[in-house]
């Protein structure tokens, strides 16, 4: 049963009150790191859908991690690859233009980390362009 607190615009598996009320429609470039290019749907499943990151915040587990700045994603990914080498973070950076019809984002971490909650029906892995691959440490 869908919650009255959840917008009809979002998938019915999003948790209650998700995305948060202060998430914004943002037009502009988003960057994400992935394992594969061309992008595949598996790299754009949320942790909620995959049953992973069990101690992540429930609403953030429904969205996807993105950045709005190439410098922020480079710095964050470099650190994650070096500090957590067994976590298998994807080493390829991709980007796409986001429009207001694609969903909402909110900064959910330090160093420019945002979460993107896509609207129902948005094919999340499409329209991404390759930017670069970081050396895996």
């Amino acid at each position: 049963m869908s919650s009255p607190l959840r917008s009809e615009n979002y998938p019915d598996w999003y948790v209650e009150n998700c995305p948060p009320a202060d998430a914004l429609n943002v037009e502009g470039t988003i960057y994400r790191f992935v394992e594969s290019f061309p992008t595949i749907a598996n790299d754009f499943l949320s942790y909620h859908e995959m049953g992973q990151r069990p101690n992540g915040k429930p609403c953030e587990r429904c969205g996807l991690s993105v950045f709005h700045s190439i410098d922020d994603i480079r710095n964050s990914l470099r650190h994650l690859l070096k500090a957590y080498p067994g976590k298998q973070y994807g080493d390829k950076i991709v980007r796409r233009e986001l429009s207001v019809s694609d969903g909402k984002t909110k900064q959910t971490g330090k160093h420019g980390h945002h979460t993107w909650w896509a609207y129902k029906g948005v094919t999340r892995h499409e329209l991404f362009e390759f930017v670069e691959q970081l050396p895996n440490h």
């Binding site: 992973q52 069990p54 953030e60 991690s65 964050s76 070096k82 080498p85 067994g86 976590k87 971490g109």
Partner: protein, 139 residues
């Protein structure tokens, strides 16, 4: 997921290991401080992901080590390479699924940060600062 070479312990052997201070997070707490049932400070560092659980290296630590780690005076591996180490598989709400006592040397090297990798992206290893200072000073 690799099978640890350590000795398996009952899940409750260390007590409740919920994060008390998160030192670095991305999508989840990745490096954090917790305490065992005797109040001993422990440092937990995420190693890898399993099916519905996350495996962390948990080591006995001290206020001094934590202060040095946060200030950038020591790197991650310097804080993690300790004589008392455990591997902990956490599931939802930080419940413990598996617990092993293990020697640091038995942890696959591919899972451990290399020397010089600091707690935070904006911390630089102290020896690099000193080296660059020495190079500048010698000009």
């Amino acid at each position: 997921m690799w099978e640890p070479e350590g000795k398996r312990q009952v899940e409750s052997a260390l007590g409740d290991l919920k994060p008390e201070e998160i030192l670095f997070e991305f999508e989840e707490p990745l490096t954090f401080v917790c305490s065992d049932s005797d109040g001993q400070k422990l440092l937990a560092h995420s190693l890898c992901d399993g099916d519905g659980f996350n495996r962390y290296l948990v080591v006995a630590t001290s206020v001094r080590i934590l202060d040095d780690l946060k200030a950038g005076r020591i790197d991650l591996v310097g804080a993690l390479k300790q004589p008392r180490c455990w591997l902990v598989d956490f599931v939802e709400n930080w419940a413990i699924k598996n617990l092993w006592i293990i020697s640091f040397d038995k942890i696959p090297k591919a899972m451990i940060p290399k020397s010089g990798v600091m707690l935070l992206p904006d911390l630089q290893p102290l020896f690099r600062v000193r080296w660059s200072y020495l190079k500048r000073s010698s000009r």
